[in-house]
């Protein structure tokens, strides 16, 4: 087991595409580290560079204490699970699992023992004699995971391993992966573009955008204090309301007059944008204490909550998350007020968090 250190990684494909602009990651030993970002932001490329399947244009990669830049994948002692599971189609499950071990030249008895252990961990007993095309997607996924862990590698790399599963199975597998990683204590780098997956799995999350790291933090930090406007707009469903504000009479005020508690140490010399979570706002009866007048544009019932879209006289409508017991009709005049603590505030020009 080992941590992974990525410094100033840059990858330019021969056709000129810059897939990774600049990435620094410091992944701890035994950590479940998630890389999250929109499609094409360079997640897979970064992962493949760590695996040695892609040679970086510049930058260093260390696994444990070893600088692995010039090591072929086989010598990096890591296992990877692909989105498309890449089980060898002509081999039965048993042989798929045994393959990496035979490649290492382990004695037969040990190979069998390890295969049995991995099969037990992933509950593959009845599937051992089937070939991949006779396994369901979920089963193939479990075999792929088992194949990654038979080798007891120093780290697991996972590239969107659950994308091809349906929602229910995906939630199950998520729990399973998290449990497994905790049990084995092996470092895992997990790539996804699904923020729910990232939030529920990761010890820490790196948010990537256009080949750069926008933020690294625990799920809570990433949710509470997105480091940039990009992160603020990416995390959460619906994401933060980004509201242009100015400081006046000790309050942050939007053009519509909506008042927010300002965070301390706010710089005064620039235009500011506050990031307000939908649950930090409240729709009230019109004229309620501290509210600004608004109008319900639409309401989405999500089962256990309602998302109201409210026009409060600002350029952009805001989204407000409300419990089911409070109901307003569409087009109804309402009040809107802020109930949470000080929101994160961003510089409108640099798009960075300033307070």
């Amino acid at each position: 087991m080992a941590g992974i250190e990525v410094t100033t990684l840059h990858k330019r494909y021969p056709d000129g595409t810059v897939a990774v602009e600049h990435v620094d990651l410091s992944i701890g030993d035994g950590e479940l580290f998630v890389m999250l970002g929109p499609s094409g932001c360079g997640k897979t490329t970064t992962l493949r560079a760590i695996a040695g399947l892609e040679r970086q244009t510049s930058g260093d990669i260390r696994i444990g204490d070893t600088l692995v830049n010039d090591l072929p994948p086989a010598e990096r002692d890591i296992a990877m699970v692909f989105q498309f599971y890449a089980l060898y189609p002509h081999l039965r499950t048993r042989d798929n699992l045994a393959f990496p071990l035979r490649a290492e030249g382990l004695p037969k008895a040990e190979v069998e023992e390890r295969v049995a252990e991995a099969a037990r961990l992933m509950r593959l007993g009845p599937l051992l004699d089937r070939r991949p095309h006779r396994l369901s997607g979920g089963e193939q996924q479990r075999v792929a995971l088992a194949r990654a862990l038979v080798r007891r590698p120093r780290a697991f790399l996972m590239d969107e391993p659950l994308t091809n599963l349906d929602a229910e199975l995906r939630a199950d597998m998520r729990t399973e992966i998290k449990h497994l990683q905790g049990e084995l204590g092996t470092t895992m780098v997990y790539v996804t573009h699904d923020q729910v997956e990232a939030m529920s799995l990761g010890h820490r999350i790196a948010i990537l955008n256009k080949g750069r790291v926008e933020q690294i933090g625990t799920p809570l930090e990433v949710y509470d204090r997105p480091a940039s406007l990009f992160c603020a707009a990416f995390i959460g469903s619906p994401p933060m309301n980004l509201i242009e504000v100015e400081l006046a009479d000790g309050k942050l005020r939007s053009k519509s007059g909506l008042a927010l508690t300002p965070p301390p140490n706010l710089p005064l010399d620039r235009s500011l944008i506050a990031g307000v979570r939908p649950e930090a706002l409240e729709v009230t009866e019109p004229g309620a204490d501290g509210s600004v007048p608004g109008r319900v544009v639409s309401a989405e019932w999500l089962g256990d909550e309602i998302i109201y879209v409210v026009d409060h006289g600002d350029q952009r409508d805001v989204r407000v998350r409300m419990p089911l017991n409070v109901r307003f009709a569409a087009d109804a005049p309402v009040g809107l007020r802020h109930t949470g603590g000080p929101p994160p505030v961003y510089d409108a020009n640099t798009e960075e968090l300033v307070a």
Binding site: R76, Y88, H90
Partner: protein
């Protein structure tokens, strides 16, 4: 999903997918269809049938007027004449068949051995100006052999390849390599690169990964491609007649053609030789028919 190439490119059930209602659109129509197809088949197959008949007729029946369709004595003498001469030794024609087997076989093996790894490389690696290179490779097949045969004849004479089997093998290989590369690239593209990635992480080198994982999945494609190459080399006539002069080197197509044109033509022998010549191609095509269809429809069939 994990499917082998075999499954991935198989044309699937080639059943008529028209709804039954339209298919049964009138008995009369079916009758007409069958009649038209039967006439067409007769016209297309007649030369073949006639060739078969001629090969088993005695010479006087071959020249009989009116032609004899059914009431002739069957003889296999012509087939014997193809291989055994009057003195009991092998004929020059049988030597030509052996030459054809050697030339077609060796050139196909060479084209496959060279073309498959090249196709793999073009499919997997980013090569500078890949598209241009591939186009250039294809462009070598734009010209029919007859256009280049004179310069090649002159060159071969200079370097001593004229009238050698090696010369024919080289030129057929050169013609088949581009074809093999193009055809095999399609098959390699169908095999996900992740297999090799996974194998490399499992401790294999890139070449081992190709050899152990990709290659087995490519076998059906290789078989189809090789048969196409084999058929080309086996049937090739223009190079064969221009680049050879002696009976010891001559392959079957010019040798058979050489049977025609004397003062008398032994049509029975010509027919028998042609059948012997056509059989291997038919047998091979039959053996790999499934993959031939897959090869021909490649690109049209998606997962």
């Amino acid at each position: 999903m994990a499917v082998s190439v075999d499954e991935a490119v198989s044309p699937g059930p080639v059943r008529d997918r028209r709804p039954p209602r339209r298919r049964s659109g009138g008995r009369g129509r079916v009758v007409i269809e069958v009649a038209v197809l039967a006439v067409l088949a007769a016209v297309m197959l007649f030369p073949v049938l006639w060739m078969i008949e001629t090969s088993i007729k005695e010479n006087r029946d071959v020249y009989a007027i009116p032609a004899k369709f059914f009431d002739f004595t069957v003889t296999l003498d012509h087939f014997k004449d193809v291989f055994v001469d009057s003195g009991g030794g092998p004929t020059t024609l049988s030597g030509s068949f052996l030459n054809s087997v050697i030339v077609a076989g060796v050139s196909t093996v060479l084209a496959t051995v060279l073309g498959v790894p090249a196709a793999w490389a073009y499919s997997r690696f980013s090569v500078k100006a890949k598209k241009d290179q591939l186009f250039f490779i294809l462009s070598t097949r734009f010209m029919p052999p007859v256009v280049v045969v004179i310069p090649i004849f002159l060159m071969y004479r200079q370097v001593g390849l004229f009238d050698t089997k090696l010369g024919l093998i080289l030129i057929y290989t050169a013609f088949n390599v581009p074809f093999t590369i193009w055809m095999m690239k399609g098959f390699v593209d169908e095999v996900p690169a992740e297999y090799e990635d996974a194998a490399m992480l499992d401790g294999y080198t890139r070449l081992q990964a190709f050899w152990k994982f990709t290659l087995p999945l490519l076998l059906p494609g290789i078989a189809a491609t090789a048969v196409f190459a084999l058929i080309f080399s086996w049937n090739e006539f223009v190079f064969a007649i221009f680049l050879t002069s002696s009976d010891a080197v001559r392959t079957a197509p010019p040798a058979i053609a050489g049977l025609i044109g004397g003062t008398t033509v032994d049509w029975g022998l010509v027919a028998a030789a042609s059948i012997v010549f056509a059989l291997p191609v038919l047998v091979f095509s039959y053996l790999v028919r499934k993959h031939l269809v897959a090869g021909v429809t490649l690109g049209a069939v998606r997962r």
